[in-house]
């Protein structure tokens, strides 16, 4: 199956892309995608096991099974607003 990984802020800059399409085995989890990305782009995040991922615009656990066509966003620690 194919999923799209999207990157923002520091992750986007370290990876050098806004998004990439990834082909994964059926039944692959978010954790599998995180492992794939951190092997392909070593060091883009200090603790890959703690990376926050949102699938289809909702925060999810690394155990979640991905589906074909899912969009998985890698969310660096958020810091919106001010003060």
């Amino acid at each position: 199956m194919k999923v799209t990984a999207r990157f923002f802020a520091s992750y986007r800059e370290r990876i050098g892309k806004r998004s990439i399409d990834v082909t994964l085995d059926r039944n692959a989890t978010v954790g599998d995608l995180v492992t794939y990305i951190s092997e392909k782009f070593p060091g883009f995040a200090p603790h890959p096991d703690r990376i926050v991922v949102a699938v289809n615009e909702e925060y999810v656990s690394h155990d979640l099974r991905l589906k074909d066509g899912d969009e998985a966003a890698f969310i660096p620690p958020v810091s919106g607003g001010a003060s």
């Binding site: 999207r6 969310i75 620690p77 607003g81």
Partner: protein, 148 residues
Amino acid sequence: MIRITRQVLDEKAITSKLKLKVHGAVVTFAGTTRLYSDGKKVRMLEYEAYEPMATKKLREIEADMRKKWKLEDAVIFHRLGNLEVGEVSVFIAAASEHRAEAFDACRFAIEEIKEKVPIWKKEHWVNGKPHWVRADANWEVKIPEPKP
């Protein structure tokens, strides 16, 4: 009402969007970009969002404000793009018949925004390399229970 925009946030114009009949209290919060960060002078801030998700999260926060407190109306605006020091990056207005609700709802909204809305800022200092501002190093989001 919520909005993510690259336009300057006009506090008065946004507050006037509140739809009010009974009135009583309007509490507003403006988050503005700071001059100093880690003791260093900031020149400019760059805001980036995962826009569809940020929109969704802001909508949820607005809905939660209304669920938790009896509000007449509420608006949340968040700015993106390049901001100078002192500009408004986020603006919240909450209106209620009595002040307590509007104060509490406004405070709740900004804390929720900082925790849940995927918007990042990059600080450009007067001296030194720009960097993305991290939230708390132990930042973790609460994963919602999967819907059946």
